[in-house]
């Protein structure tokens, strides 16, 4: 699937030009890399003092740093899993309520949803942490973060589930009604399970977004990985190296999660077609899922 609309498949002369372009691009990249390394060295960023706490197990700070980061990352994961589960639960409820309500009453659900969707997630978290105590709700910081993340993400998940429900053929609901299921039963045992299957990749993508957003816990002083990194950076005086490290860790985790989303998508589309169907054109469903994930991400 490398056919592009923009150019034909290259002939011999174009292939030579592409080769030349590749060589030039590689040289430019190498030049940039050399420049960065020289710059780092000139600024004294490549010293043992700067990297030791991160890379050298014999360094006195090594164990403390990595234990701290590990515990903090677990706190991120904890918040992400809680927020994801709660948003999934509430988002599904919202989606089902919205579909179930008569048209004139839908604004009662849609209005608040649109308001929540228009707010930055960092403000939702901050609100949860500062407003709930004013109303006498005293919780550990973790829960303020989870509540803020849930308030924002349940709306997005509701949209994903709604899209999933809308993508099902009408015959599914009609057949369920025909065999005598109530609308509630049909939703629970026929429609939702299929919608979730279709939406699994988009839901995993949203988990990536939520995991990234747990780092906003620093706004309310929750000791998550980025907050711990900034504390460590103040003590070890190597912010560049530490932020680079925590960035790489986040990128690795999220990259693996999105790979998982893609492989789930591939498995699902294969299973849906069954062993008899020709294994062609996996693209359409991947693109559809990405389109949904795209509106949710960002």
């Amino acid at each position: 699937m490398t056919t592009s609309v923009l150019f034909d498949s290259p002939g011999p002369r174009t292939r030579r030009r592409i080769l030349l372009g590749s060589v030039v691009a590689c040289l430019a990249l190498a030049a940039v890399a050399v420049f960065v390394v020289l710059r780092l060295r000139a600024q004294g960023q490549l010293t043992e003092e700067r990297w030791g706490p991160i890379l050298n197990p014999a360094n006195p700070y090594f164990t403390a740093l990595w234990t701290g980061l590990g515990t903090a990352l677990l706190r991120n994961a904890q918040a992400a899993v809680l927020a994801m589960s709660l948003s999934l639960l509430l988002g599904t409820l919202l989606a089902v309520t919205r579909v179930g309500l008569p048209r004139w009453a839908r604004w009662a659900v849609v209005g608040p949803m649109e308001l929540l969707r228009g707010l930055p997630v960092v403000i939702a978290i901050f609100f949860a942490a500062r407003m709930l105590p004013e109303f006498g709700v005293d919780l550990p910081l973790l829960w303020y973060l989870v509540i803020g993340l849930t308030a924002y993400n349940m709306v997005i998940i509701a949209e994903i589930v709604r899209a999933g429900l809308a993508s099902l053929p009408r015959g599914q609901a009609e057949a369920a009604a025909a065999v005598g299921l109530t609308p509630g039963q049909a939703m629970r045992s026929i429609l939702l399970p299929q919608a979730f299957r279709a939406m699994l990749p988009a839901l995993i993508s949203q988990l990536v977004v939520i995991f990234k957003d747990t780092s906003l816990g620093f706004v309310i002083g929750y000791l998550e990985a980025v907050k711990i990194t900034s504390i460590a950076a103040q003590q070890l005086h190597n912010p560049l190296q530490l932020y680079l490290t925590i960035g790489v860790i986040f990128i690795l985790i999220n990259y693996l999660l999105s790979k998982l989303a893609m492989s789930v998508e591939r498995r699902l589309s294969r299973a849906r077609r069954g062993p008899v169907a020709p294994p062609a054109d996996d693209r359409a469903s991947v693109d559809a899922a990405l389109a949904v994930a795209g509106t949710a991400g960002g």
């Binding site: 592409i18 228009g118 930055p120 403000i123 906003l216 706004v219 560049l240």
Partner: protein, 216 residues
Amino acid sequence: MHIIVDNIGLYRDGLLMTLRICLYAAIGSLVLGTVIAAFRVSPIPPLRAVGTAWVTVLRNCPLTVVLFFCAFGLPELGVNGAYFWFAITGLVLYTSAFVCEAVRSGVNAVPPGQAEAARAVGLTFTQSLSRVVLPQAIRSVVPPLGSVLIAMVKNSAIVGAFGVAGELFNVQGRLTSAQGLDLIPVLLGVAAGYLLITIPAGVALGVIERKVAVLR
């Protein structure tokens, strides 16, 4: 309520500051994102690799980390500048990855048959690009690009949380801690400020989306 009315000037300035940040960041990320997208669809493999790496890295990294890196890492590299510009840089880098994906998916959404048909009826490369491929690509790029930019407006609040003074979210700190005002009305004012940007933007995007929708 009177707290919001009394400090309406501060809120207005905050809103304007947020809009200014967003304008700079939007211009920067649209340009950078389009360049990266061009890298990703170019026929030259190393450039494609750079584009892919760029998107993978920045999409999977929390904006907080990108901002911290720009604000505290770049000065260590000897890059000096105002905090404001480091924040903008972070926002531009982060958003460019999403812009790139929106643009790329738009270009890829044009079925190859369209270009093939254009060539078959004898249009030149320029004609087929300007009359057939680009009009369709731009139409399918607009809606996702709009959502990316709305998400960017919301992300700009994080810049305020980082202490770019005068930004809308940052106004909250000034009012509550410096002037000791009640928290809830102050926060509601901030929330209203963001909704004032995001909800009309969302409505406008919906209208544009319907206008440019392509039937396939």
